[in-house]
Amino acid sequence: MPEKLFKVNLQEYMLPGQRACQGCGLSLSFRYILKALREDTIYTIPASCLTVLCGLYPTTAVRVPILNCTFPSTAASASGLVAGLRALNREETTVVAIAGDGGTLDIGIQALSGAVERETDFIFVCYDNEGYMNTGTQRSSATPIGATTTTTPLLTKQQHKKDMVRIMAAQDVPYISVSSPSYPLDLYDKFVKAKRIGGSRYMQIAVPCPPGWGYHSKDTVRMGKIAVEAGIVVLCEIEEGKFKFTGRSKVIAERGKRTTVNQYLEKQQRFRRMSTEQKEQFQQWVDTRWEEYREWSQR
């Protein structure tokens, strides 16, 4: 591990004064993404917490070129950057779209599905904080069952989370990965690798969010780890359809031992109204998906 740590780009692209909340899982991830992708990368970002993180005009907290775009249009905006750069013979520049789960799984899914179907040469990053956080924690299709949000305030969310990884896999996206800021080197390596390969790349990051999930900001890294230990978040890569556990999830898969979801649920205020039945359903959903991924990894 320590040798690997020395490989990390020492250059900082995120400056002090970024505007995310204390303990934001997105800000941890973004810092490593920028380091891994280095120079000659252009980003496009829709309305989201990331817009705010990057700073308000005329100051900015990041030292990379960014094109802000409308909420539904992220992947199309990336397509336009790719087309424009090609037309100007600037193809070596990497184009990266980064959206929240709402901007990816919900309002942005049409543009994303179109862009990857066209085999657009870009990286799409979905940072998944499991809700519309920028507008104050409303339900999204990535919100897990049993969570309270401001639009599921009393009865909690009734449905399971949408599995975007499998949707992207169904579209034969050549490189897909899931990472977590609690394992920054795993995250960093995936982005270094993604920059090197061409075609559409879909990279999801599970980002804990203290105000949205209801836990103390000092516990972000721990929350990410508990999620991985329980198999709620599965660190993985899918290359050309081939599934591979990575990092800590690989170790867990090899050992065949996951923790239950209980600790994860207990530590977050958003699950305080979750029924026993929902807890069982959630555990079952995690187990089933884990099994499916495991079988997939053996194919």
Binding site: L56, T70, A76, S77, G114
Partner: protein, 402 residues
Amino acid sequence: MSKAIIMTGNSAAALAAKMCRIQVVAAYPITPQTSITEAISNYVESGELKAEYVRVESEHSALTVCIAASTVGARAFTSTSSHGLLYMHEQVHWAAGSRLPIVMCCVNRGVGAPWSIFNDQQDSVSQRDTGWIQLYCRDNQEIIDTVIQAYKIAEAVSVPVMVCYDGFVLSHTMMPVVVPMQEQVDAFLPPLKTSGHLDTANPRNINPVVFPWRRADSQGVMRDGYMEIRYKLHSALNDARGVITQVNGEYARVFGRDHGGLLWDYNANAAEILIVAMGSIASESMPAIDSLRAQGINVGLIGVRAFRPFPKLEVREKLAGAKAIIVLEKAISYGHDGALACELKAALYGSAVRVPFHSYVAGLGGRDVNAKEIEAAITDSLKQIAEGNLEPPTHWLNCRTE
């Protein structure tokens, strides 16, 4: 030598876009615009045009692609109609707010519900306040010439231009069109200088959240608040009046065709009765005017080419000698008057022109409006004016209203 070729309005638009050496195209099929995108696909696949063609999954994405490509400095083109334009509405604002020189053809079509694939101008007129320049064409020759002018205008003022023309009436009707020579177009419209807004060597955060008030940057320099940015867009559109006129003049000198900058007219000098119209309904009014003049009625026509920026002073000047004004148009501002009629009345407020004003909404959803009907409407209005009906509510021409 330039030569005349018989072609549809859509072919004229596609050919013009090609001659402008567009670098990025993104479009989505919708009647009656589709054949533009098909023609451009052909140009690109056959190698006649070197451009990136992004076959997007929606109009929202089509304009998004143009926005992003234009931001890195590529000359971008799209076209749409009706629901396609409405579906991109968010991006229509975003493009203008981003001050990008995109050109889009809007092949005018009615909007639902209920469905209509046929022509009126409700689609583009309802995008009036998005910050785009809107130019309306009366025939296929004007389409080819206006698309070429549109890039010159857009790139001069950093405002996107919508070139509007009537679906089917022009888009699918064959007319002789004099095709400009490529070398002349190249000289008239040099390559777009890369604006370099998104430069990896000089990183910037484009279109972030902006405060209502002005704010100091890290060097202590005061920068615009949201409202200053809006004011600059507004001023750019105001300045575009002069640019549209100037570009039209330059075009006329080089190519020998003058379509009028902001306005054009037909028999309008010293005419007592002035008809005002936009697009093909204006050209359809020309034979009506000939016929009325043959009957000794002193009538002329003003064609509005630029709906935005609206040629307020120019309109006042043209209408200064009028004894009566009659507006014909293919769009309605529901609960008020026809959209063009509203603009004209507002432009005349405070001027010396205080004359009878009749307005007609006609041809919605493709209902035919021919010269005979226009002539009858004008005759009827003149009769009503003589009887003292000076400013009635908008008439619905050829429409059962009981």
